[in-house]
């Protein structure tokens, strides 16, 4: 189930990235796409009935902790990218007074 949701999120993100004309919406699309991947990874490690991976006495069946740990990194990277993209967009908006995607491929220069 969760991997289907992950796929849906991924596709929604991809759609947003490809089809939207507004740059900020594109960034949103990128974020949704990344969260789809994050969800996918999390769903890899998860299995119903297993407990959190904290090694204490009596705990034997734990979920795979690796994807979770790694996804933290991915989330942090996602934050960085978003921040960078947004700050670029702010500066672009200030120069071109537009958020249209046409700016990206050079229309509006000169």
């Amino acid at each position: 189930m969760s991997d289907k949701i992950a796929l849906t999120l991924f596709l929604i993100g991809l759609y947003g990235l490809i089809a939207k004309k507004n740059l900020i919406k594109k960034v949103m699309g990128l974020n949704i796409l990344t969260s789809g991947i994050v969800l996918f990874f999390i769903s890899l490690g998860y299995e119903k009935g297993l407990t959190a991976p904290i090694m204490e006495k009596g705990i034997t069946d734990v979920v795979d902790p690796l994807p979770q740990a790694l996804m933290l990194t991915t989330i942090v990277i996602g934050v960085c990218i978003t921040a960078l993209a947004l700050s670029l967009i702010v500066r672009i908006y200030r120069r071109y007074s537009s958020l249209d995607v046409k700016i990206l491929t050079g229309e509006g220069d000169e």
Binding site: I18, K21, V101, K102, L104, T105, G106, E107
Partner: protein, 533 residues
């Protein structure tokens, strides 16, 4: 005696071979002689950017020398390309617009030729596992005949471009006038011989000189170049352009000699390459001297310089007579050798006669329009050029006469050793039983053509409306124009392609998505991967 040396340090781990045999020696000596003359001549001729000119010139001569002495295909190619590029830099030396245009055309065509030779060389290496000329003997039996034929075509086509053989000649009449005159002398005297040297070396090494298909096609191209070169030379107004077209025609002679492939014709071809190197060099230096002192290059603007520049005039006359094949001058010997070798073929004899007369007519035009007649108003203060320019010219003229006076000496000491190395036949060549009167027919016919040309104003197409109209019709079928249009079409296509840059970012992203989907589908349907065709 053959000297061979292996240079391991260069291009290690591939190495290269240097070899000096009689054939190389002929071309090497030509390079050295003409190079020395040009170096001396340039002292007073080239005034600007000497700091760039002289190193390049010396590098040019060096690379030419190594090209002629290389014993493997790879180093032949490498120095071929180096010398081509240095020639480009020398052609654009004046850095004017015209020079750049000519240079571009030259470099594109030469690189095309080099690429074709390179492809042939790689194919040869694949067949034989070696780059050495001496290994080429097994090429014929090493694989499918189609592939071998392809190698031949690629190699010879590359050499054709370099030698300016007719349908691939278009760089030549532009590059020669654009370059400084001493460089034109070298280009015409030595550089374009690389192409012919390459063909000779290749055909001799593969032992396919006597193959009929090869020799017929070579003779065919040679005949076209001879005739068309001579005709086009007749029509030129620019002195150096006239000389350039005449070079195409003379290269046709040499190619004809190679194509016929008997000892006699080979001797003629080699003799004619030496001669052409000397007198074409001389003529270009003369043209340079005239241009230097008058600052004019169109024949219609010149005239009557015989009084003003007496020594140049005499020297130029010697050159003109030599190239026209007048007895006792060098051209006569080689042309006679060549025409004797084609005595059996009637068509070729006609071609010979026509070309020789056309050549004579065009050089009559060249000499008479420059040095005789009335002196134009603007040229009254022209002075003779300095001695450092005259000396090389005098030397070359003397050499031309020497070559014409002692044919047997040259034949036995220089040319026959080379032929003995390369030819499969073993018959001696002697220059005897020659009727000097045989040279008269082309001279008479040439004189007639010249007279007719003057009367009908054919020589200066621009001046007479009748010829202008036919000329413009004629230009439509020009090879040069064809090439230019091909290039323009490619550029137009690229410009059309450039519109892709204007697509929106979303479209580009869509491309990526489509590509991804396509890739997945492709891999899905061909899970074993896409194999080689």
């Amino acid at each position: 005696m053959i000297l061979e040396h292996y240079l391991a340090f260069w291009l290690h781990p591939f190495g290269m071979y240097i070899r000096l045999d009689a054939l190389s020696t002929i071309f090497l000596s030509l390079t050295v002689i003409l190079g020395a003359c040009v170096l001396i001549y340039s002292i007073r001729y080239v005034k600007e950017d000497r700091i760039r000119y002289y190193p390049l010139l010396i590098l040019f001569l060096l690379s030419l020398s190594v090209t002629f002495t290389s014993a493997d295909l790879l180093s032949f190619y490498i120095f071929f390309e180096i010398s081509s590029f240095i020639a480009y830099l020398l052609i654009i030396h004046s850095r004017t617009r015209a020079a750049f245009r000519a240079g571009s055309k030259y470099i594109i065509m030469t690189f095309l030729g080099a690429a074709s030779i390179f492809l042939a060389i790689i194919l040869i290496h694949r067949q034989l596992g070696s780059y050495k000329f001496s290994a080429l003997g097994e090429l014929e039996v090493s694989g499918r005949s189609g592939l071998i034929r392809l190698i031949y075509v690629l190699f010879i086509a590359g050499c054709f471009i370099k030698a300016g053989i007719m349908p691939l000649h278009t760089w030549l009449p532009d590059a020669h006038p654009a370059a400084p005159s001493p460089i034109s002398a070298l280009l015409s005297g030595v550089t374009i011989k690389i192409g012919l040297y390459g063909i000779m070396r290749f055909l001799f090494s593969t032992g396919s000189l006597s193959r009929l298909a090869v020799s017929y096609s070579l003779i065919g191209f040679a005949a076209i170049s001879m005739l068309a070169g001579a005709v086009l030379a007749l029509l030129q107004d620019d002195a150096k352009r006239l000389l350039a077209y005449s070079s195409i025609s003379q290269m046709g002679y040499v190619l004809l000699g190679i194509g016929v492939g008997t000892n006699l014709s080979l001797a003629g071809a080699l003799y004619h390459s030496i001669n052409h190197g000397l007198f074409k060099g001389l003529l270009f230096l003369c043209a340079g001297a005239v241009i230097r002192s008058t600052r004019m290059r169109n024949l219609s603007d010149l005239g009557g310089l015989r009084k003003r520049m007496p020594i140049t005039g005499i020297v130029c006359l010697i050159g003109c007579l030599a190239i026209s094949g007048v007895p006792i001058f060098s051209g006569f010997i080689s042309k006679t050798l060549l025409s004797r070798s084609v005595e059996k073929f009637f068509c070729l004899k006609i071609v010979f006669l026509l070309t020789a007369s056309g050549t004579f007519a065009s050089y009559l035009k060249f000499y008479l329009f420059t040095f005789s007649g009335a002196l134009p108003q603007g040229l009254t203060r022209v002075k003779e050029v300095s001695w450092s320019m005259l000396l090389p010219m005098l030397f070359l003229a003397g050499f031309s006469i020497f070559l014409g006076l002692f044919p047997d000496l040259i034949l036995s000491k220089v040319i026959l050793p080379a032929i003995a190395e390369i030819s499969i036949f073993s018959s001696a060549v002697k220059f005897d039983q020659v009727n000097p009167l045989s040279a008269l027919y082309p001279l008479i016919l040439g004189g007639l053509i010249y007279y007719l040309g003057i009367r009908t104003k054919l020589f200066f197409i621009e001046e007479s409306p009748l010829w202008q109209r036919t000329g413009s019709q004629f230009r439509k079928v020009s090879v040069d124009r064809f090439y230019t249009e091909v290039v323009a079409m490619i550029e137009k296509a690229c410009l059309l392609f450039k519109n892709i840059e204007r697509f929106s970012f979303n479209t580009h992203l869509l491309f990526i998505l489509v590509f991804l989907t396509g890739l997945v589908m492709l891999l899905y349907f061909t899970p074993q991967g896409i194999l080689f065709p």
